[in-house]
Amino acid sequence: MKKTLIEGKNLEEVQAKAVELFKEPLERLKIEVVSEKKGFLGIGSSVSAYVSINVNPIEETLTFLKKVMSAMDINANIEVETDTEEVRYNIESDNNPILIGREGKTIEALQYLARHVYNKYSNDKRVCTIDVGGYKQKRRMQLEILATKVAKEVARTKIEVKLDPMNSYERRIIHTKLADWRDVYTESVGEEPNRRLVIKPRKHN
């Protein structure tokens, strides 16, 4: 959580400054007083406190997603899974194809905005990812199968193969999958959004 030191004449002033600075209501802020000086008749007194936004980023992002779903008029059930690297939101809805979009474009957009919400309230290193109806999981499996198949072909024929344009996440899956292959290596060429992955044969001396 991001902390800021705020000083004021008394606690009320610190609170008012905090609300102004963070643009959040008082009940969503955490104020830890670090030093308090009593003055005489209210003169010369001072209070300083560390202020941070006291909300759970995971909950906040979940609320955001739920609001988006209801605004889109989609009934959705959202499950949250967390581990040390990721916060995953699995959305299961009555209209998955709309939420996925062409080639997963809508998921990407939703995830991009959700990350902004998540990172606004959090500064841990976990990334926030969104999946709809297991789409990404299936896509990952397909890509791994494709990668293996093409890589075998490249290793056999020694002719490089260019794959279709993919987004960074999908390219990463293939790069990772083929990283420890002895006979081929992978590279990305071109510019977004037409950046494509090339599987090349490795030359042995």
Partner: protein
């Protein structure tokens, strides 16, 4: 649609009270145009690096519009 745009835009801006959305009726090509106005300080926050955030907002709205068999365009501007 206004509600959706508001839901998407509000968490990104600092001046929530200045978010103003105006709907224009279908133009000649059948598009409903929404104009989203935000505080001058927030315009960068909703456009993002090379328009990435604006594009993400549009993508989600297009999806919602497709569901309702509409076509929409969204413009972002500041006061």
């Amino acid at each position: 649609m206004e509600e959706l745009i508001r839901t998407l835009v509000e968490p990104l801006v600092e001046h929530k009270e200045d978010v103003y959305i105006k709907r224009f009726d279908e133009d000649a090509d059948g598009y409903i145009v929404y104009s989203v106005m935000v505080n001058k300080d927030d315009i960068g926050r909703i456009i993002g690096k090379r328009g990435s955030i604006a594009q993400a907002i549009r993508t989600i709205c297009y999806a919602a519009a497709t569901k309702n068999k509409q076509m929409v365009k969204i413009n972002f501007d500041h006061f």
